[in-house]
Amino acid sequence: MAPAVEITEEEISLEQMMQRARSSQAGAVVSFLGTVRNDGIEWMEVEAFRDLALSELEAIRQEAMSRFSLQAAEVAHRTGNLAVGEAIVAIVCSAAHREDAFSGCRYILEQLKSRAPLWKKEISAEGGRWVEGE
């Protein structure tokens, strides 16, 4: 079984993450998929401070699990060169009730953006540009 937190050069399989997160105790499963949007870019390069990002994502995941009584939480972040439309990040949270599943998914996403050492560069015909953090 794949780990609940992943940083991978391979394409993310949201389907497998959903399967792992579903259970007979979970009445609600919420997923977020962030993909490379076509803003006139040709591809995107994603870079990680890999082992630190993994431990930070695992810490965020555990915070979400306990704050929102999640049944399961899965996080995957892609690295390497991504084409338009490919998944950059995927998050799946399951809980007994929908409020918790939504809140858990939002929490993981916002914390990931502010705490996980990951960077994106957009490459267009004009050249490359590192995306500025929010």
């Binding site: 962030g34 994603v46 870079e47 990680a48 401070f49 630190l52 990002a53 972040h77 950059i88 990040v89 996403l109 990931l112 953006k113 502010s114 705490r115 996980a116 050492p117 990951l118 960077w119 994106k120 560069k121 590192w130 995306v131 500025e132 953090g133 929010e134």
Partner: protein, 92 residues
Amino acid sequence: MRVKVLAFAGFREILGREREVEMQGDASIRELLEMFASCSPRFREAASEPFCALRDHVLLMVNRKRIDAEKDLYRILADGDELAIFPPLAGG
């Protein structure tokens, strides 16, 4: 004294992903950064403001703990320390 330096994103493109740096005697974070700036005009341009201040978007970690660029810049590095240099996080 040997320090490992990791750089990410734009700083990785300038300094390389990872390097070992040998310094004579004690050295502060600031001295290490000044050394990079003096060797690399691109790094100086990317990381420093006039009057030797660090640009806001230069983030630093020593041994995976964030460093306050104002207060901790004179901190003396220890042998085996790992310094990481990167711009603001932009994952997700």
